[in-house]
Structure formats: C-alpha cells, structure tokens
Symmetry: none
DNA sequence: CGATTTGTCTATATACATTTG
DNA sequence: ACAAATGTATATAGACAAATC
C-alpha cells in the first residue's frame, strides 16, 4: 500500500496560503509541485482527497481540485476515481544535469564567416526598440490605436473560424485579406491588380528581401534614391548587389542621372509618394520616364508606398504602379505603420508572371504568415474600422506635424530648416546649417531621450547633407513641443 | 437615443426560467436570441444592465453575464463598458468582390530569372494546405487543442501588456518567451544554453534559411541525411550549397560515409531524436563521432529536433546539443507542431558567438517576430498549459499510432512493412515490397482523399527505397482505420 | 451494497480594472 | 469628479455521474 503523506505538510489552515500572494489554487499548486519535484512527497505516496485537504486547509474543494488537476495534467499526479490521487513516478529522469553548465563553446574564436555570411553579419543592426521616445521616425500613435475594436476582430476570428485558422495557411496569404488588400490599394491607391497578385508578407523588410533574392544576382546594379531608406539598402546589399546612388531633387529620382550612372541596372527602388527621407513627391514626368526605362531595359521597379496613406492637404497621389504597364512594377505596402509595428503584416503586389516564383521564395523564407492576425486584419477592414482609423490618424498626424513645425520655428528659428513642402508622412526632415555634424548631434539628442536619425546616414555617396529626421507621429503635441525645445537647446 | 426594451419582457422573477429546463444562462440566452432575431427587441434598442436584469430575474449577475457574452460573441449585441449593451444591426452579407480588372501586365513573357532567382523559383512548392485529409504527416490533432486556454492567454496578454506589445519588438524575440524556451529545452531536452542564446523565429523553415544564408557559401558541401527532410533541402540548396547525401542506417547518420564523401563539408543537417522520415534514433557513438568531426573540421551541426517531444514508451533521448562541446551545434525546435501550424513560432539556439550575426540575419529577413503570439505563448508555458498539452498529445498520439499500425497490419498484411521500431513521432514510414512505384501510389491515394508522401522523394541520390510516409497524428483512430483500408485496397 | 473519490457542471458572491456618460 | 456599466478573475457551494474499494 502506498504510504500517506506526512501530516505536517498539510496543517489545518496552512498559514502560508494568503490572499496577497496571488490565487490560492496557484499557491497550492506551486507548493505541491515543489514538494513533489524535490522529493519531499515521494513518488507513489498517496495524497489526501480533495475534500479532506480542502477541509484541512479551510478552502473550497474546487480550489484544491484546480491545483490537483493542473498537477495531473502535467503528469506529476496519477488520479483515479474512487481510489484517490498519488504522486506519479517521474516520467523521464531529469536531464543529465539540471544546472546549466557554462557552454563550453564560449571560449572559441569568433566564427569564421565568409563572403555571404559576412555580408549579412556586417549589416547594421536596426535601432533597438526604444520604447516611446519622442521623435522616433515611423512610430505610429499607439495610444490612439483602437485596441478594443482590434481585440474584437481578433476574438471574433479566433472563435468563428475555429480549426481552419489553426491549420497550415496558404503561402500567398489568407484569401479574404488578399481580397481586402486588393480592394483597398485599388480604390485608395490606384493600384491595378487582381487579388491573386497580392502576397501577404510580414513586413516591408521581408518583401524587399524576397525581391532581392528572387530578382537580383551578385553584382547586379540597383538604383537607390540618394538619400534613401536604410532598410532597403540592407535587403539589396545582402545579396551582393551593387547599390548605385541616384540623386533626388524636388521632382524626385533623377532618372537621367540613373541612366548615365548605371543604364543597365536590374532594379530601381523608389518611394514616389513621399520620398524617404526628404519628403518629396515624384513628378509625373519622372514617373513616366522611370517606367519607360524599366520597360525598355527589362528592369524592375520596386515601389515602396510605405507612407502614402498619410497626406494632409491635397488628395493622395495615385501609385506609380497604376500609371502604365504594370508588368515591371512591384508594389510594396505595409500595415505595420498604419496599425502597429508588432502586427507584422505587409503586402506585395507583383506582376502575374512573378506570382509563382514569389510564392516559392516566400515558402522558402518562412513557409507562410501567421493566420490569426491575417484573419483579424481582414475582419477589421471589412467592418470599415481600417478606413476609419486611417482617417483619424490623418487628422491626428496633421495636427502633430503642425505642432512640431511650429515648435521648431519658435525654438530653433532658422538653424533647423524643414525640407520639402508636401504635407504628408510621419516625419519631417530638417537641414542643419553648414557642415554641422549631425551624427554627433543625434547622439547628444539620444542622451536627452530623443530618438532621431542623422540625415547624412541616408546617403551612399560622399556628398551628404547634414540634417535630422524627426518623427512626429508617435507622441502628442505637448511632448513634441518639449522635444523641440530640448533639441534647440543642443544647437 | 436608443429606446429601451419593453418592461414586460423582463418581469421580476421571470416565471419561465426554471431549474428543470436546463442551465439558467442558456435559457436566458435562448430567449433573448429569439427575441432579437424575431424583432421583438428591435435593433439599436438598449438592454438593461447585467446587474439590474440579474436583480429583476432573481439570478446572479454571472448568469446574465454569460448569456450576454454569448450573444455578444455571436454579434447580436454591441456592448461597451460604461455605456451598456444594445442590440446590433443585422450584419450585411460580405461586400461583393470588387470589379476585377484584367491586369495589363498579363500578356508579358515569363520574367527572365537568372541563377539565384531561378534556384529559388524552381524550388518545389510545398504541398497545398490540404485541410484535414487523413494521414498528412506532421499535422497535429487540432481538434484536441485547448483553444479556450489559448484564447485566454491571448486575451490576457493583449490586455495586460498594452502598448508595449504594439510597438517594435526585439529582433531576438520577446524576452519572457526566450526564457521559457531556455527553461523548457534545458529541462526536457537537455539542451545547455542561456536564454540569450535563444532566438525566436517563425518556423523551422526560417531557422534553416537563416542558417544557410549566414553560414553557407555557394558551392559549400552540406551533409544531408539520405533519405531526409525535404524542407531542409530547399533552404540549403537555395543558397547554392552542394547537398551531399549521407546514408542513414539503424544507428542514424553514417558519419564514416560522410567523411569519405565530403570530409570538408561546412555543415551537417541531422534529426537525431527521430530521424525523418525513417524514424530511427541516432546512436550515442554516432553522435559523438559527428560532434568530433565538427570540432576537428570547424563545421557546423544543425540539429533539427522537430518531433522530439513525442516519444511514447522509452524516455525521450537528450538532445545532441547537450552532449559535448556546444560551440558547433545549432539547435532548432518548433511550436508549430506541438501547438498548431498557423501559430508561426519556432526557436533557434545558437552558440554565443553566433548570436549577433543571427540577429542581423533575422533583422534582414523580416525585422522581428510578431509580439502578441510570443507573449501568449510565454504565458501559456508559464501557466503549465504547454506541459499539460504536450503530455495529453503524447497519450493521444501513442493511441493513434497503435491504431494505424494495427489497421495496416490487418488490412495490408506484409505488403506494407513499417520501418523502425522506435515508438515516437507523428508519422510512420512503411516500405513497399520490391520496386513498386510509390509516387504513382501516392497520387492514386490522393484521389481517394489520402494525403501521403512517397518515401522515394526523400532521397537525393539514385538509390531509393519505395514506401509511404503516413501521418497518424491529425485524425482519430476511426478515420485512420478507414484510411488504412482505403490504402490497402489500392495495393 | 455503500461509502468514498474523482471529475464535471452550474450557480453565486465578490473584487477590481476600465471605460463611459 | 462621480456613478454606472462592462469585463475579467478568484473563490465558494452544491449537485451528480462514474469509478473504486
């Protein structure tokens, strides 16, 4: 017969169980678990019945039952109706040794990475997630996000679709979301596509990575806006492509310069709606010239429409993709900025013949994108919450943009000159007078809790302007004003 | 202003609610549901608060709350904290598909992909997600997944952590999850690591892709188990590595064969706990030999522990990673099989000097992994639900495995010979007598709704055995029996 | 047979956080 | 500021079926 447990383990009204220490059933569970694992209650010994233990402890049977059930589920107890509960034999001996020995490989030399690996390992590590520091570029107004509506979409989907949402998803994405995206970019951005051309990915970064891996070979030339978006550089340079800086003027990318510097480039990466970081809009003439070059030379155009939904005065400019022949343009958009960064949903619209190759690339990279977030996003869009949120953010950001500009003018006067006249985006770029060291300034700003980016870091070539990229979308006007004051005091 | 509901609908002590007619909350739910659907309570009318209704009916608020919550879940009610509950407008059918314009780029020729791109574009497209067809390998028992517990973890996290979960996440993963994974693989798999060595990724596929991109150069030789896992092939071959098939015998990978075929290989990919697809366990001698080779030649060992948690009789074998020097071993595990496929969470444990390079690679590939699922997973583990679920699945799969084997023996006799004696995994592989064409058999099986894989497809070299890989984890014993009968009738 | 025990279900009370008007 | 409402969590009480001894 199994022995009973020493009575002293369960004195009446066990003094250790207290309201303040969290749920009673959890405390009891933890305590029993420790006792079993450390052998204080030996294997095969019988525990008191839930009723008697409950009575002894002065708690309800349900409380004890919950603790026992949890232990049973984890295999620490064997319970049988009628015969009671007893401690199970250890299922698997604890691993060779519990305490983690210092990994012996530690003393080794740094691993010898070679060409491709080094290329990846030497990429800049993107800035640490800096919480809610003011001025972070591309940080949405998280406090204004309609979290409860989003949760409802999540909940609704997690209930309704049941096991369909648990199983493997299609590589291209959840079909209702692809349809919703196709409708959205069609009506609000003028992108011409069928839902079958829409691929759901996790981020702009993943989209660009897939593009690079599929369309670029080592040594291929790629037109990059100068100055331009840093994230795009890492994606293209990791494949060994040759990045060709093509200057940007007030009409956007200088196609003529691109033609003279690298006429045979395989790909051009552009942000025509609201150029990053200068905030210009590409002119119609330049757009047509770019498309014509791509058509004639068989190159690809990657249109990153990352910020396009945010335009505050004039109507949004239609996407490049919808302008002419769509056969050479890959359109990239993201939900991570309009919704929230950790959502991890973006989309890629590719010409029909590229759909299959891209599916394989996506399948290679990570199989498919998580389903629940996709289904919730589709639901959120179908119910109109997305459009509503977008509208609200437009109003909010317009206000914040103005607040930042006003504060900068008041505090810093002419020493910080805003670039670009388009009222759009989630950031403004300001130029520093003369050859001021913007990198040093950014560092000094960081020490005051301001998360800004140096304009000069966005250049590939040696000719760099000095300035700051300031995000205004993430925090409220009051914080923007104090940030501007703090910044001005550093000048 | 929304009108109130006619008072007579809710007289005090509503006489219709009786103990004998089933649960009170259910009766209340049914009654309200009928009233709403028939229009007795018109849309947009406000319901009494749960408290007052509970008082009027003489029941507890929880009872009313349950009924309301159910109605809310079905979309019949719109509830808002503070403002009360009102009847929702009937949902309209989904908006019709937008007018699908024919994409103009359609007539173009197939795009001219070149070397790298072709390598990616010619990868096999993984089998379409085939729903719940019987015998699908690696398909978990989704009907047995504790969905309500999981939803609670999701909800709890989406509330508690608030905006922290919305912002950018760390590239390496959500810290509590990294810690939970380190603890789990440490105690239950004998992996020796610090939580800082744990990287959260979306899938085994992504883990292998990162490994390939960081550690392999074009032309590098890689030892692959022969036969072996198909997914691993695509990851490594996409980088242009040379895949060297190394045969597997009853002790696992033939290290001596690897040494003679490609002594200078840069990497070996192995599934030591439960070899895919043959279901063997690698012997201690082989493990030590493999580690010794890696140490001496500076090669990497990738241990894919995809199936290891499922062992049905003997104790789980500790991981290769914990055996000796951990400096050359990269350990890969996944939650997508123990939990559910669309979760998209897996992990990679790398030697300390590789942590930084891998962070950059992950950052390049997709920035970081979605936060909510990570936080929910950590919560699920901390509460012991993960261990409990794992244990339950072990019992369930052991039963299903036996059911499939019994049915196969009964229906097919000797014509389908199960391979391997280890009672583990989520599939069994059976050999076909002689040189039977397993690919054709798989196709015929597919036409009967059976989702199996040909063993011969898992070979790189010309010497192939003919057989079938049969998953037993996804469906219940009855379905397995009828699948076995159906399969036998095709022989 | 009858007492005991687990395991599950229903209902209640209560506390507390959050949001709304 | 304040009251009212929802929404979540914890604990209790009691009933009953099924298994065990």
């Amino acid at each position: 017969m199994p022995r009973g447990v020493p009575a002293k383990l369960f004195p009446p009204h066990l003094p250790g169980l207290r309201q303040e220490q969290g749920p009673l059933h959890r405390q009891l569970y933890e305590r029993l678990r420790q006792a079993i694992l450390t052998g204080v209650i030996p294997p095969r010994s019988r525990l008191p019945s839930t009723r008697t233990l409950a009575a002894n402890l002065g708690v309800s049977r349900n409380t004890v039952e919950q603790a026992f059930a949890q232990l049973d589920a984890e295999g620490l107890l064997e319970r049988r109706v009628g015969s009671g509960s007893m401690v199970a034999l250890p299922e698997h001996a604890r691993p060779p040794d519990g305490p983690v020995r210092a990994p012996t490989g530690r003393a080794e030399l740094a691993p010898p990475l070679r060409a491709r690996g080094r290329r990846v390992a030497e990429l800049p590590l993107s800035a640490a997630p800096s919480g809610l520091l003011p001025l972070t570029p591309c940080m949405p107004a998280l406090d204004a996000f309609p979290l409860s509506l989003w949760r409802r979409s999540l909940q609704r989907q997690s209930r309704q679709t049941g096991t369909q949402l648990l199983s493997y998803g299609e590589t291209a994405g959840w079909r209702p979301l692809r349809e919703a995206v196709a409708a959205h970019v069609g009506t609000s951005r003028g992108v011409r596509c069928d839902w079958r051309q829409v691929l759901i990915v996790t981020s702009t970064q993943q989209a660009l990575d897939l593009v690079a891996r599929l369309l670029l070979e080592e040594g291929d030339a790629v037109w990059m806006e100068e100055p331009g978006y840093l994230g795009a550089r890492t994606a293209f340079s990791a494949t060994g492509a040759r990045l060709v800086p093509v200057p940007v003027d007030e009409e956007g990318l200088r196609v003529d310069e691109g033609l003279s510097r690298a006429p045979k480039a395989r790909l051009a990466y552009v942000t025509p709606s609201y150029q990053y970081p200068l905030g210009l809009t590409m002119s119609l003439a330049r757009r047509l010239a770019l498309l014509e070059w791509a058509r004639a030379s068989g190159a690809w155009v990657v249109e990153d429409d990352y910020d396009s939904e945010f335009r505050y005065t004039s109507r949004p400019i239609a996407a490049l993709q919808g302008l002419g022949d769509t056969g050479r343009v890959l359109y990239v958009g993201t939900f991570n900025k309009v919704m929230f960064p950790s959502l991890r949903l973006a989309y890629l619209v590719v010409p029909e013949p590229l759909v299959e190759p891209f599916l394989r690339a996506k399948s290679l990279a990570d199989g498919h994108t998580a389903l629940l977030s996709q289904a919730a996003m589709a639901d959120f869009m179908e119910r109109g919450h997305f459009t509503a949120h977008l509208r609200q953010m437009r109003l909010l950001y317009a206000e914040r943009r103005q607040a930042l500009l006003d504060a900068l003018r008041r505090e810093a006067g002419d020493s910080l000159q805003p670039v670009g006249s388009v009222e759009a985006g989630m950031h403004v770029t300001v130029k520093l007078a003369g050859r001021a060291d913007d990198v040093a300034l950014v560092q000094r700003a960081a020490s005051r809790g301001l998360d800004t980016r140096p304009l000069s870091a966005h250049y590939l070539g040696p000719k760099r302007s000095s300035g700051l990229v300031l995000g205004f979308s993430g925090v409220d006007p009051a914080a923007l004003r104090s940030a501007a004051a703090s910044l001005a005091s550093l000048l």
